[in-house]
């Protein structure tokens, strides 16, 4: 597990990370979100033992990263931002080198490298120099490198940044596969990714932790959560007025009206689900409901909300 306490990093005049504390348990895929320059990369670099913090502690699987970076790094697989790789090496040569740094030797090393190349679908490019790889293969090589020593913790800094949708999908599937018995912490500013992959979300802005929650909880914070859009055929009636009588409904907007066909938007008073009561009312009046959609909430709303307001909202997951 990862335990971060009161982590601070100052660069000359700027405070990049400002008193960040959190803990992550096994089996978690943690999405680390935030606008550019929020302190994501700096935080991850400190956990990976690359940057020494100005103050605060990071403990990975019981090992203090600041006091004993090398021992902590044995537990960690880390893919830095932009996937730096030794461009002059071949894929298999590069992976063999990292395996050797990780203390694997001889046959054990070769077996491990072959196994990881298989899992990361790199076998076909194993003799290719790294600088001739496409971005997708490059990223996969970067991921493969993190897995060689079978670490308990994976830190991935923007793993899908700059990939096309197909390549993104492949990388996501790989991460999902790895997720089972590890801690994965990935930073991103792609919100769909978080929804697809993560069991927990943290939003950081201006070096401070603004929010710590699950994707589901987060979406509930979105202003439009559970707003109900209703297509209804109501001959000779005014469904908007009638539906506005439901106690949980704050307001009804008429989106569209063509003869007896109405498209209405019901906004709940307190983000309650309105579907059951709306259908009840419609059945009572013998209206025909042709379509019914409840808004699942949008992460980008919450993201924008959290990263633009100054106050710190904290909620435990």
């Amino acid at each position: 597990m990862i335990k971060v306490e009161h982590l601070v990093k100052k660069f000359d005049l700027r405070t990049a990370v400002d008193d960040v504390s959190f803990g992550v348990e096994k089996g978690t895929v943690l999405g680390f979100l935030g606008p550019n320059g929020a302190g994501k990369t700096t935080t991850i670099r400190m956990i990976a033992g690359y940057l020494p913090p100005t103050s605060g502690t990071v403990v990975v699987n019981g090992v203090d990263v600041v006091a004993n970076p090398v021992a902590a790094q044995r537990q960690i697989g880390y893919m830095p931002e932009n996937t730096p790789l030794y461009d002059d090496m071949t894929v298999s040569g590069f992976l063999r080198f990292i395996a050797e740094l990780r203390g694997l030797r001889g046959q054990e090393r070769d077996r491990r490298v072959a196994d990881i190349m298989e899992r990361c679908m790199l076998t076909s490019v194993r003799h290719q120099p790294v600088d001739t790889l496409s971005k997708g293969y490059r990223r996969r090589t970067g991921l493969a490198q993190t897995l060689l020593h079978d670490p308990a913790v994976l830190l991935l800094d923007e793993p899908t940044e700059g990939l096309d949708p197909n390549q993104k999908q492949v990388v996501r599937e790989m991460i999902e596969q790895m997720a089972k018995d590890k801690i994965i912490m990935l930073s991103t500013h792609v919100l769909e990714e978080v929804e697809a992959l993560c069991t927990r979300i943290m939003i950081i802005s201006e070096g401070r932790l603004k929010l710590d929650s699950t994707p589901e909880d987060l979406k509930k914070r979105s202003a439009s959560y559970n707003t109900l859009t209703l297509d209804v055929v109501a001959p000779g009636a005014d469904p908007a007025t009638v539906l506005a009588q439901i106690p949980d409904v704050a307001r009804v907007d008429v989106v569209q009206r063509a003869g007896d066909k109405h498209v209405l938007r019901l906004i709940p008073r307190d983000k309650q689900s309105l579907a059951v009561s709306a259908i009840e009312v419609a059945t009572q009046h013998k209206w025909l409901v042709t379509e019914l959609r409840a808004d699942p909430g949008r992460l980008d709303d919450v993201f924008r909300d959290v990263t633009t307001t100054a106050d710190v909202i904290r909620q435990s997951a």
Binding site: G49, Y50, V70, Q73, P84, L85, Y86, D87, D88, I98
Partner: protein, 247 residues
């Protein structure tokens, strides 16, 4: 031993990095061509009629001055530029192991280039009766000198992500370390500076130690000197790399 394994892994990678690019071949060709040119054409090896290699070793400090920084400049600057330093220092390797591994690889490469000058002593042996002990001492001195230059170049390489800056800084530092003890310069200095000062500055220089050794005098103090230069420069490299700003 785990520690040695990592030093060896870094050294192996660095060694193959030289040969994966044209750098190694170009360096070796230019080094051999220049060494031959200076020895035979400029110093008139044949005309001198002496079966020794002083005319060959005389040029080494000057050859290394330009060529060793060219070998050293990429060692850390490249890692910084590509961001691979972050990868290296998060793969359970200490900076000390990485520094040592890289220095050993580059030194071994310079040793290879030096070993390829073997036709020159063979020529001397064919023409006359050279003192093999002096020749061996000359090679040892030259190898130590190359290692010291290399450590200087490694330090300047750690300072920047720009290889050109690293190269220039290494040449300037190397020039100082030569000139501080180069006889024409010390003679010039002794005309107005007190003798103890001239000697003090000269003691920092490569030259008195190198010259003593290549005359065939293998004094422990000269070994200690070159060892200290290398140790001190690698220590400075360690300081620079340890003080990471994350940029």
């Amino acid at each position: 031993m785990r520690v040695c394994n990592q030093v060896r892994a870094v050294a192996k990678r660095e060694w193959s990095a030289y040969f994966n690019s044209p750098v190694a071949y170009i360096f070796i060709i230019i080094f051999l061509a220049l060494a031959g040119f200076f020895t035979f054409s400029v110093s008139n090896f044949y005309e001198a009629g002496q079966a020794d290699l002083s005319r060959f070793f005389f040029w080494h400090p000057w050859l290394y001055l330009i060529l060793v920084p060219a070998v050293a400049m990429r060692l850390w600057a490249e890692e910084r530029r590509l961001g691979t330093m972050e990868l290296l220092f998060t793969s359970a390797v200490t900076p000390g192991q990485a520094i040592l591994g890289k220095w050993l690889a580059a030194w071994a490469f310079l040793a290879l280039a030096l070993a390829l000058t073997f036709p020159i002593p063979l020529t001397a042996a064919w023409l006359g009766q050279p003192d093999w002990g002096v020749i061996a001492a000359g090679y040892v001195a030259s190898l130590l000198l190359a290692g010291a230059y290399l450590a200087v170049g490694m330090f300047t390489s750690a300072l920047t992500r720009n290889q050109v800056i690293s190269f220039i800084l290494a040449v300037v530092l190397g020039l100082f370390l030569i000139l501080a003890g180069f006889q024409p310069v010390t003679e010039l200095l002794s005309q107005w500076a007190p003798g103890w000062l001239v000697d003090g500055v000269a003691a920092f220089s490569f030259m008195p130690h190198y010259e003593a050794m290549q005359r065939g005098v293998l004094d422990l103090r000269d070994f200690v000197y070159f060892g200290s230069v290398v140790g001190f420069m690698l220590f400075l490299t360690h300081l620079v790399l340890g003080n990471r700003s994350g940029r």
